[in-house]
């Protein structure tokens, strides 16, 4: 998983980090999309802050801002990284450490998701197999009660007692099936 791709490390966030500081990315490989970098001030205006929408609405009415070009940085993503009011400046080493940690946690989360998916599939398969087994039990019970037992009893009534009693599971099915 050397070339791990995640939207957090593509597009806008990568451009932002690349412009803010000179990060030493020798160990961490990012796969970025081809898109032109945007100026810092313009990007900050596009940050997702719904709690300020009402306050800025009145300001916008007075002086409508120029419509920004639609890019990946301006479009809304549900899982967008939350923007802090005061963004902390970090050293390249610290940023690298943070990125490594983030990648590791993302990988861990992905592996957990895969484990969860596997468990769900195993559960579904086991349940299907159990239902197949139940159907077979019903059929075997019917076969035994309606055919084998009766035929054996009719052919030689004395030998019916040689069957060492009706097995418990077949007896349970027998009572329910004979009612039907």
């Amino acid at each position: 998983m050397d070339n791990y791709t995640h939207k957090k490390f593509t597009g806008a966030l990568k451009r932002k980090r690349g412009q803010n500081e000179d990060s030493d990315d020798e160990d961490v490989i990012f796969i970025t999309k081809e898109s032109p970098p945007q100026p810092l001030a313009k990007r900050q205006r596009k940050l997702f802050r719904p709690w300020l929408d009402n306050d800025t609405e009145t300001q916008d009415k007075a002086s409508p801002p120029p419509t920004p070009p639609v890019t990946t940085a301006t479009t809304y993503h549900a899982n967008m990284v939350r923007a802090h009011i005061s963004s902390r400046q970090r050293s390249p080493q610290e940023q690298l450490r943070r990125d490594r940690n983030t990648l590791a946690s993302l990988r861990h989360r992905r592996s957990k998701q895969q484990q969860q998916l596997q468990l769900e599939q195993q559960y579904a398969a086991s349940r299907r197999q159990h239902e197949v087994n139940l159907e077979q039990q019903i059929r075997l019970s019917l076969y035994y009660v309606r055919f084998l037992q009766q035929t054996l009893a009719q052919s030689h009534p004395i030998d019916a007692s040689e069957l060492k009693g009706v097995p418990q599971h077949l007896a349970q099915h027998k009572s329910s099936l004979q009612k039907s």
Binding site: D55, Y123, Q129, H130, V132, N133, Y143, E162, P167, H173
Partner: protein, 176 residues
């Protein structure tokens, strides 16, 4: 008359049995009974999961102490800036609460899946064991029947009618 019945040939007994056990009727009976068993299984599974959740409660601790907002505690903001701060804090609190709820629900969901998986594995083991035992008993009965001169082809036909010739696939699942 009773004695005559004892000496009836097996072939006529086969015809008598076959007349009343058509494959469609068998399938209908099987479908009905299977539906009952499936419902019973679902109830048992739900009961097991609920019991396990009670015995192993899921706890999600708060990362920060909960702030209980009441009208008397908060002072009436006069400036617009303090109002925006208050609404921002409310939004943050709301978000934190919804995050916490989401984490809790996800934990519950995962725990339920684990318990359901445990339950189905135990049920599958049991049903596979029961199936093997039933097949043994039926094999014994068939051997006896064949020993008394019952026609093997007729026996195979009856097996087809009742649909008991399905192979056992439970070993593949249990080996996983």
């Amino acid at each position: 008359m009773a004695n005559k019945r004892l000496y009836l040939p097996l072939e006529s007994q086969q015809q008598h049995t076959q007349h009343h056990d058509k494959p469609e009727q068998i399938d209908q009976l099987v479908a009905l009974e299977l539906q009952h068993l499936k419902t019973h299984y679902a109830d048992e599974e739900q009961r097991y999961v609920d019991q396990m959740l009670i015995e192993n409660p899921v706890v999600v601790e708060r990362r920060s102490p909960a702030v209980v907002s009441s009208p008397s505690a908060t002072s009436i903001p006069t400036a617009q800036k303090s109002r925006s701060h208050g609404s921002r804090d409310d939004a943050q609190r709301q978000r934190a609460e919804s995050c916490r709820k989401s984490r809790y629900n996800n934990k519950i969901k995962k725990a339920k899946l684990r318990f359901r998986h445990k339950f189905v594995c135990s049920q599958l083991n049991e049903s596979a064991g029961v199936l093997d035992y039933m097949r043994e008993v039926i094999a014994q009965a068939e051997t006896q029947l064949l020993a008394r001169g019952f026609n093997r082809v007729a026996l195979e036909r009856m097996r087809q009618t009742f649909g008991v010739n399905q192979c056992n696939g439970s070993a593949d699942i249990m080996d996983q």
